[in-house]
Symmetry: none
Subunit: 127 residues, 4 copies
DNA sequence: GTGGTCTAGACCACT
DNA sequence: GTGGTCTAGACCACT
């Protein structure tokens, strides 16, 4: 599992971490039940503070995609987890904004989306 | 042009303003060349600080959808404006994250997107 | 609103804070919509770190009894808020343990509970 | 005597052990004077570290519900045992918090308590 | 002045 | 070795 953090990004590090781990889950490189690296290990690997990793893990637990067990954190077994109403609302808001942006800049949002999907599938590991 | 601000939202007010104005442009209620309300007027109309309006206008100028002229700000005439590489990169990042979220939560992103488009078109004023 | 923290207790400070604020809500000394002290003010008042206050506030938000608005945190207007299934499960577990303890030590749990209620009502401010 | 441990619970294993054994005492499946399984046996039965069992037993001794004898540990003969002031204080604190939570979430604490009692009595073995 | 993010580092509980 | 709690302090975004 490769984690890539852009330290110059305006997106908080813990948010980037959350996205990267969900990407791992979506692509199947992180399997249900698989343990996540320990908070301290991942922090020192990436070169960030352990609190930052912890915040990301806690958020993933809140979203239901990661669970906390005695020995640490692991990918939730239930897939897909229930999505909260609040989270879905935020997603819809983001989609609305993207649609508006696409109209303003005359971009084909459906096309961009399909490209994104294709790119992601290309990163999927073969069995 | 109706501007709706949610003061309790976690989304910064200036960001909401930017989105609302772009929505006006996308829907055609703000035409190319049309002047925007003065910073002071809009600020007192909405009941926010004038720095907040200014920040929103400046961002819209940076995105190329608004231009600053002698007497104030107006919607750029060229439609669609050129999208900056940086902004496109941000958009693609958002799309990637949405696609991943949709995979993780087993949502049909294409369907959500089409619903958003239909909703938006429904808000479009008739000629 | 008086906040009392026992620094020698094994109960984490942020948990004590959560309980104290909920007590304030239950007793009516914290009214719906009322703003909470700022994270930094409360922290310096009590003499603890601002992160500790923040953690307590975040938990209260998660429980739905506090909401976060632009200018800070305030008591949620909707009372009572919906209780989450997970939280209710924890409560039932605690009750079960209390019932067992009462049986083992031959205490009248109903009586203890009524005393607690009476004591609490005694602390309620009169109109 | 059945011991059920939830290894994924956030409740420490030794705490769960303490509760389970007190439940056995309350229900009468563990009689006064009855020997407890040896630390090593119970640990290997449950599949946990023997330090964990030891910690649970020591806590039960501290609470006066278990005594340590030459050949090991056994249920105290005197029933009910004296409850320590410290322990009673902790119990009252828990009750206070439950009462507050019930007020905040508009739950009928007396009803919940009665349900818990009924459930427990239902688990009681018949003579 | 409000909260958010992040760091560096300490001590503790659980197993 | 795992996460939890807490501190002290810094810089930043929003208004």
């Amino acid at each position: 599992m490769m984690i890539e953090i852009d330290f110059d990004s305006e997106v908080p590090i813990y948010t980037q971490l959350v996205c990267q781990i969900k990407k791992g889950i979506a692509l199947g490189s992180l399997a249900p039940g698989e343990p996540l690296p320990s908070v301290r290990n991942l922090a020192s690997d990436i070169g960030i503070n352990l609190h930052t990793v912890n915040k990301a893990y806690k958020q993933l637990v809140g979203e239901g995609v990661v669970i906390q067990v005695k020995k640490g954190y692991e990918i939730a077994k239930k897939t897909p987890p229930d999505i909260s109403e609040a989270y879905l609302k935020v997603m819809m808001q983001q989609i609305d904004n993207l649609v508006v942006d696409a109209m303003v800049f005359d971009l084909d949002i459906l096309d961009l989306l399909k490209k994104s999907k294709t790119k992601l599938e290309g990163e999927m590991p073969r069995d």
